[in-house]
């Protein structure tokens, strides 16, 4: 019979480290998907996921069991991803003259006929990745959670450990930052 999360956690806390493995197997797809939102290279993603699970193992004593283990783990995952973004913010500056041919074509199509430019196009996804890469760590985190994952401000506050007003302030600044980058694209390309 499959053991529940709380049984596995209790076993780990008693010193049976092997009981942590089923927890990793169960939650690693979700943690990988989360890490892939913030990092691009597969080696970086694997390092982030590894760090998340090692932190979870070492901090397991602080898990009080009031909320599901998954929520606790995802909080840890989001905070670790944020730390990763803060540690890699030097890679943010790339000029928009480096746009690829499909990205430029997608933008051209959007300028001519905004409604026909497909949201499913890989060029649009590449373009948004490029924009996200230029955002500050806090702005990128807020835009990802609020606009892309469509989470509520309260959920974001719980995930990040920030207060609700701070999330609102950061969301406002993040949108402004993103607008500035989008404006820069149009300036660089069409002026």
């Amino acid at each position: 019979m499959e053991r529940t999360d709380s049984e596995l956690i209790a076993a780990v806390l008693k010193g049976d480290a092997a009981s942590f493995e089923p927890l990793i197997v169960k939650y690693q797809p979700r943690v990988f998907a989360t890490a892939r939102r913030y990092a691009r290279r597969e080696s970086e993603i694997e390092d982030i996921v590894q760090e998340i699970f090692l932190k979870a193992f070492n901090k397991l004593k602080s898990f009080r069991g009031e909320a599901p283990f998954e929520h606790w783990l995802m909080r840890l995952a989001v905070r670790t991803c944020y730390d990763f973004l803060r540690g890699h913010q030097r890679n943010r500056e790339t000029a928009f003259t480096e746009l690829t041919e499909p990205e430029t074509q997608w933008l051209d199509r959007f300028v001519v006929q905004p409604d026909t430019a497909s949201e499913n196009a890989s060029a649009a996804r590449a373009l948004v990745d490029r924009i996200l890469l230029q955002l500050s760590p806090a702005a990128r985190l807020v835009i990802t959670l609020l606009e892309i994952e469509e989470r509520s401000v309260k959920e974001i506050a719980a995930l990040t450990g920030w207060s609700v007003p701070l999330v609102k302030v950061r969301a406002f600044r993040a949108r402004a930052e993103m607008r500035k980058i989008v404006a820069k694209i149009s300036r660089d390309k069409y002026l």
Partner: protein, 105 residues
């Protein structure tokens, strides 16, 4: 160009592209291998270093003690007297100086 529309379109594109949840083969084994490694405990490392330092100090003390005993036993029979003379040597010198200064007056 309608920037607001462009921004909305790009965010919609990002929403549609949910990231893959693919896990590399046997990734959990990699994490378990890390967990099996002994965790470096700073306090135990510090304690071990202190014990090593203490052993070295005891060895040096024994060596110096042996050496001083050897040399003092050749010249004078009383080590305690030699020790006292060494400690009070500076004071003896100062009192001699003050006596000669008094005499000069």
């Amino acid at each position: 160009m309608n920037l607001q529309k462009l921004q909305a379109k790009l965010l919609a594109a990002a929403r549609k592209a949910s990231p893959s949840d693919h896990v590399p083969f046997a990734f959990e084994k990699r994490i378990m291998a890390h967990l099996a490694k002994p965790i470096a405990d700073v306090w135990s490392l510090w304690g071990r270093a202190l014990w090593r330092a203490a052993a070295a100090c005891v060895f040096a003390m024994a060596l110096l003690g042996g050496w001083s005993f050897q040399t003092s036993s050749d010249e004078s029979p009383d080590l305690s007297q030699d020790f006292e003379n060494t400690v009070f040597a500076a004071l003896d010198d100062q009192s001699e100086i003050s006596i000669t200064e008094d005499e000069a007056w």
